[in-house]
């Protein structure tokens, strides 16, 4: 750990008032078992060596940092650098965490893995590692998202996973997570739940973050090599917030590096149709095993969220982000559907990179602030995934049917 001052979560999984283990009794022992397995694993050089070797040879790490010269020059201001998580095997950062949790599952002797997915990236990554390590795999996905992400659904099936459509509630990511929890509580003895984001009950927010910090650790070494110094700001999109935690965490100790999380403003914060609990200063509450900022009505019912990107369409946010907001170490802003689409097209045209709609939110914010900053400033944007999965959504906005 590079930071002597920051050692959260505490032993019970709390980030200040956030996080914790808010689950039904049946799962309490399973989470204790997972904590013990993780604590033992991360102290073992052999476990870490295998994780690193898998990331290198299977995922294709390290992912490069790339100077988006034409986009930066077009905007005229700060230089924009992209951390290319889109180049990972399976096309997004999600696989980093899935490899780590699959190694834990194997160590714990669990033959079956389950996952929830929104955009389908985490589902694909889970199905991928399940094939790689020989696990049975079931992925829960809201039926609304299945409609938006047909290609990813087929990808999961090709990889041998069973995709279960979730018809309850808003039929999106949060409902998929409810259903995965119900599966886990039923099959807890032989099943490992691979949570895809830095939410859920402790130890998940910590485990997922730790496996994703490979992103930020690589940047810490790559930025001085390629650009002579660390960036002035690190920018990442935040749904649950795993790619953001992965790139932020190693930079927390670098106090002069701004950390900027970009949530989904959907049709605008004022419209109420968004998925930006931090930016909108939502009330805090308890959902999916942890305490955090939550989009809810005055009676504590979780409300439906909206984002053009299924991966950001979630009413909560990882508890560590809640803590980073309150402590002031990170700033949280939001980009609308329209701004994300504009960034999507800009990156296609200026750099020949088709970004995921999720990541396009981070690019959108970089495009917003770059012109206001001098050419000597350096913005590091986590390009968390590629956008092949989104071409239908984007095409439809332009009136194109496939």
């Amino acid at each position: 750990m590079t930071d002597m001052h920051y050692s959260l979560p505490d032993a019970r999984g709390h980030f200040g008032p956030y996080g914790g283990v808010f689950v039904a009794e049946t799962l309490m022992p399973a989470l204790a078992e997972l904590r013990a397995a993780y604590e033992a694993s991360r102290a073992e050089p052999a476990f870490i060596a295998e994780f690193e070797s898998e990331l290198k040879h299977y995922v294709g790490r390290p992912s490069p940092v790339y100077y988006a010269r034409r986009l930066s020059e077009h905007l005229g201001g700060a230089r924009i650098v992209l951390k290319r998580e889109d180049l990972n095997h399976t096309g997004a950062h999600k696989v980093n965490n899935c490899i780590g949790q699959a190694l834990l599952a194997r160590r714990m002797g669990k033959p079956r893995v389950i996952a929830e997915t929104g955009a389908g990236q985490h589902g694909v990554a889970t199905a991928t590692v399940a094939a790689r390590y020989g696990f049975k795999c079931v992925v829960y996905m809201g039926s609304e998202d299945i409609g938006r992400q047909a290609a990813n659904v087929y990808r999961m099936k090709l990889l041998g996973a069973t995709v279960v459509p979730v018809e309850s509630g808003s039929k999106t990511l949060k409902d998929a997570m409810n259903e995965a929890m119900r599966d886990w509580v039923t099959n807890v003895s032989d099943t490992f739940y691979i949570i895809g984001t830095v939410a859920g009950p402790h130890p998940y927010p910590m485990i997922v973050r730790d496996f994703q910090t490979v992103i930020g650790k690589e940047c810490l070494a790559q930025m001085p090599e390629a650009f002579g110094r660390q960036p002035d700001a690190v920018i990442a999109c935040v749904g649950g917030g795993s790619n953001a935690m992965g790139i932020f965490h190693p930079y927390i100790a670098h106090e002069n590096v701004r950390l900027i999380g970009v949530e989904a403003a959907g049709e605008g914060i004022a419209s109420g149709r968004h998925a930006a609990p931090l930016t909108a200063n939502a009330k805090t509450g308890v959902l999916h095993g942890n305490r955090t900022y939550l989009m809810q009505d005055e009676n504590g019912q979780i409300v439906e969220t909206h984002s053009i990107s299924a991966g950001l369409d979630y009413p909560g946010v990882g508890p560590e982000h809640a803590w980073l907001k309150d402590s002031g170490r990170a700033e949280y802003v939001a980009a609308t559907d329209g701004e994300a689409l504009e960034a999507f097209h800009a990156l296609c045209r200026f750099e020949g990179i088709i970004p995921a709609l999720e990541s396009s939110h981070a690019v959108a914010h970089a495009m917003k602030i770059a012109p206001t900053l001098g050419r000597d400033k350096l913005l590091l944007v986590n390009l968390s995934g590629r956008g092949d999965k989104d071409i239908h959504t984007v095409g439809e906005r332009s009136g194109i049917r496939f």
Partner: protein, 272 residues
């Protein structure tokens, strides 16, 4: 002595088992909930568990999920649930009411405000599925100070060293989850229950109820022979779902009476 304690005490003296039916408040609409509660009592309920609907009922199976969705669609909320309890209490001073639900509606109301309002409305106990004792010490203390029992769960996965700790944090009774799964599932392992329940009863020093997956008189009777109380929920919600509005209360009463009769066939001393 709390209403819950005195119910268990008099049942024990009579050698009878407690029947604890569950319904979701506001299902299918708020008008029917008090009549349903009275029907439960008429059918032989000793304690009523009243579900507080939540948008994301992670521990519930499809039946109670649908009940929650119907209730929320009709505008049910925690404060309206408390109004329902108040109305029920006006006509029934003896049957304990336990609210069962999830943490977030209570967090939204605020712990202190909820505790005061629940006490004032005539609530006797509170079971919050996603509040394990570790995460709600301040809430627990507030309830205790207000004279309300916080009911905690134990599960097939709970290690024995946890029995006593969970019991010490709670009051009223222990809710033992009969199976690994969600409400309304149907895979109870009666042999396993037969081994677990006596050990739990010995450790916790308070009545033990068993719920999840009890679907009929026969399974209720088997559970009743092992435990102090039987909780039955999804099956009653199914009765409500399947009955025409005007006949639903009578249907609920008939169903509960059948379970009551089965429990009363259990002979005194069978659990000793």
């Amino acid at each position: 002595m709390s209403r819950i304690q005195s119910v268990f005490q008099s049942l024990q003296a009579a050698g009878r088992k407690a029947l604890i039916p569950f319904i979701t408040a506001g299902d299918p609409d708020g008008e029917l909930t008090v009549p349903f509660m009275r029907a439960l009592v008429a059918g032989g309920a000793d304690i009523i568990e009243l579900g507080v609907p939540f948008s994301d009922p992670m521990a519930d199976g499809p039946t109670i999920q649908r009940a929650s969705e119907r209730a929320l669609a009709g505008g049910m909320s925690l404060s309206r649930v408390l109004d329902i309890v108040r109305e029920f209490r006006a006509g029934d001073a003896t049957t304990p009411v336990v609210l069962m639900g999830y943490a977030n509606p209570i967090e939204a109301m605020g712990h202190a405000a909820f505790t005061a309002a629940a006490r004032e409305a005539g609530v006797d106990g509170v079971l919050v599925v996603d509040y394990p004792p570790e995460e709600c010490a301040e809430f627990t203390a507030g309830l205790r100070a207000a004279g309300l029992d916080q009911i905690f769960m134990l599960a097939p996965t709970s290690p024995e060293q946890r029995f006593r700790d969970v019991a010490q944090a709670g009051g009223g009774y222990i809710y033992y989850v009969s199976l690994k799964g969600v409400t309304g599932a149907a895979n109870i392992d009666f042999d396993e229950l037969g081994r677990r329940i006596p050990r739990i009863r010995a450790a916790v020093g308070m009545p033990v109820s068993v719920g999840f997956g009890i679907r009929d008189a026969a399974s209720a009777k088997k559970i009743g022979a092992l435990a102090d109380a039987v909780v039955i929920g999804s099956r009653i919600v199914e009765e409500i779902e399947a009955s025409p509005r005007e006949r639903a209360a009578a249907q609920v009463e008939t169903f509960v009476r059948g379970i009551r009769r089965a429990l009363d066939e259990i002979t005194i001393g069978a659990t000793a």
